[in-house]
């Protein structure tokens, strides 16, 4: 493999039901920054069926090229046809960097494809940069420049490692949703559109989808919320979450929760923040009755402002909170809701 043959930054633009996932735009945002440093361009690769309409939007968000792989077999995600298609793209176009979202699709597709093209893959990255490997020059070892340095948490968020893939191409990473920033939309910006036929081969590894069952969820996506009012075990019961819902309502925010709350059956899994839930970075994060185990804080500590209310003054949540209040949430939260209501009324 000649590493120099590989050029350009590519991203897997995930679509589900022919709607682009938010991660596609986040990856373009990051890829754009990397491509600038490398003096190259950004390609968004879309797999699916009847997907030509998606190209424009990818262009408006910063993709320089859009590769469309349109095939009936790719209509709904299955590992094998998707892996064949993305592998064919990599072999044909030879990108030096291939980014995939660390979603339930990407974390299946990424490892399969990276093994198939015999390169490395770094999982669930939270930061990507261009730099040298090794970081400092070492005697007897070639220091390579313009490498993708991939940083990721491990050990439940307790350690962070920066990883490079110096001798194989493409350099592949899956990237955690909600961490990278999208670019501003530029209406009318156009990408070069390329249709690519990977010539799929149906084999025994094609699984059969018998049924697709979508979760009936009436709740807003907590990853999009600007204000999150999050409750933990300390809230005490499912009924007590009414207090948090009232507070969220006056602030125009959304309720989320810790794992203990999901385990107790008080709230559904899609509201869970943390290592095994979602990573959020709202403007304001209220942590109410949440002790703040690292598994939880790993998913929210990037929030702009963290306000914690907990009766236990030794709770670890206070170590990450900007403003910590030691006190009884049952007294404080309802009074806070009323006070904010009054404040907002006075401002109008």
């Amino acid at each position: 493999m000649s590493l120099e043959e590989y050029k350009g930054v590519a991203i897997f633009a995930q679509q589900v039901d022919n709607k682009l996932s938010s991660i596609a735009f986040e990856l373009i945002g990051k890829a754009h920054e990397l491509a600038e440093k490398l003096g190259t361009d950004v390609t968004a690769v879309v797999l699916g069926h009847d997907i030509s309409a998606l190209a424009d939007k990818l262009g408006e968000y910063g993709a320089d090229k859009v590769v469309l792989i349109d095939n009936k077999e790719l209509e709904t995600y299955r590992t094998e046809p998707y892996a064949q298609a993305l592998t064919a793209y990599i072999n044909e176009y030879k990108p030096e960097i291939m980014l995939v979202g660390a979603t339930a699709i990407g974390r299946d597709l990424g490892p399969t494809v990276s093994a198939r093209v015999q390169t490395g893959l770094t999982a669930d990255c939270t930061s990507l940069e261009i730099g040298d490997f090794p970081l400092q020059a070492r005697e007897g070892q070639e220091q390579k420049h313009n490498q993708l340095l991939m940083t990721r948490p491990a050990f439940g968020g307790n350690t962070i490692a920066t990883i490079a893939c110096p001798d194989n191409r493409p350099q592949m990473a899956t990237v955690r949703p909600g961490v990278m920033q999208k670019l501003e939309k530029q209406p009318g910006r156009k990408a070069e559109v390329i249709n690519f036929n990977p010539e799929l081969t149906v084999n025994n590894r094609f699984v059969e989808i018998l049924n697709i069952v979508k979760n009936v969820s009436t709740t807003a996506d907590i990853m999009d919320a600007k204000i999150l009012v999050s409750g933990g075990r300390g809230v005490g019961s499912a009924e007590n979450f009414k207090m948090l819902e009232d507070l969220a309502e006056v602030l125009g925010g959304t309720v989320s929760c810790s794992r203990a709350v999901v385990d107790s059956g008080w709230k559904p899994k899609d509201l869970q923040v943390g290592q095994t839930g979602k990573t959020v970075r709202p403007n304001v994060y209220f942590a109410i009755g949440i002790s703040g185990a690292i598994q939880h804080t790993a998913g929210m500590e990037e929030s702009d402002i963290i306000i914690a209310i907990n009766k236990d003054e030794t709770a670890p949540i206070f170590d990450v909170a900007d403003y910590g209040i030691v006190g009884d949430l049952n007294k404080i939260v309802p009074a806070l809701t009323e006070a904010i209501k009054a404040e907002l009324a006075a401002q109008n």
Partner: protein
């Protein structure tokens, strides 16, 4: 029917981790446990065994002390255990790990391979699908439910906002979520039996279908440039006031930051 379950011994991070005074992780104080997703995978295999009489073999790659975890799997009801251990295999990334595990699996009879989705130390979720890739098997990741029907498996495959009910022909590989089930406890008699059994131990040289270019640190395409324990964000202000003052304090901060 033969089921191979791939399991990993990991440090227990449940209930928080411990730090040394210098802020680094105190790994020595943490118990070594069977990775939770892997344990769910083992339970799924044992349920299939309960129904069909399948033979369940557990396989791990790790340090010699992983023997304890294999005994635990035997005490839960697994029939056989294999430990792949060799210093030459150390420092492996997911590519090298999956190449090695696949080479070990090839020496066994299998219709179904189950792995956990991801390990709580590495959190990569890559080894399962990559083992399938090395063995050219169909893979179904993120399994919430597994049923065996004749020569096929029917799996509920989880996504963020839905699940797919997927059917695959065996042999195939499934990665299990810890939500899949509540793993059973060992039994006291199972523990005694487990320590009477032989655990098969394989070193590098027992894995004939494996290229040296694909093992250990040297065979890993990804290299660690830097690793550190996470420096936690410093604490902000902390106050203990009566409820009324607390409310005034929060409202004041929200105004100061132009939230309201």
């Amino acid at each position: 029917m033969n089921i191979v379950v791939c399991i990993k011994q990991v440090p227990d991070t449940k209930g928080g981790v411990k730090f040394n005074p210098d802020g680094t992780l105190d790994r020595a104080s943490m118990l070594a446990i069977m990775n939770p997703d892997d344990k769910a995978g083992l339970e799924a295999a044992l349920r299939i065994k309960d129904e069909t009489g399948a033979k369940v073999t557990v396989l791990t790659m790790g340090l010699p002390k992983a023997d304890d975890m294999l005994r635990e799997a035997l005490a839960m009801g697994a029939d056989e255990a294999v430990l792949v251990t060799d210093r030459r295999l150390g420092g492996a990334d997911t590519w090298a790990t999956s190449s090695t595990v696949a080479a070990a699996v090839k020496k066994l009879d299998y219709d179904l391979i189950i792995t956990g989705r991801q390990a709580i130390d590495g959190d990569t979720a890559q080894v399962g699908p990559q083992i399938a890739e090395h063995l050219a098997l169909p893979v179904i990741s993120y399994a919430e439910d597994i049923k065996v029907e004749g020569n096929s498996v029917i799996v509920k495959r989880q996504y963020e906002d839905r699940y797919h009910e997927v059917k695959a022909q065996m042999p195939c590989l499934i990665t299990a979520l810890s939500e899949l089930n509540e793993p059973r406890y060992m039994t006291p008699g199972g523990i005694f039996d487990a320590y009477d059994k032989e655990v098969t131990v394989w070193g590098r040289d027992d894995l004939t279908d494996l290229d040296d270019a694909n093992i250990g640190l040297a065979g890993s395409p990804t290299k660690i440039a830097k690793a550190s324990d996470k420096v936690r964000k410093g604490a902000g202000e902390k106050v203990a006031l009566d409820p009324k003052e607390s409310v005034e304090y929060i409202v004041g901060k929200l105004k100061e930051k132009h939230v309201i």
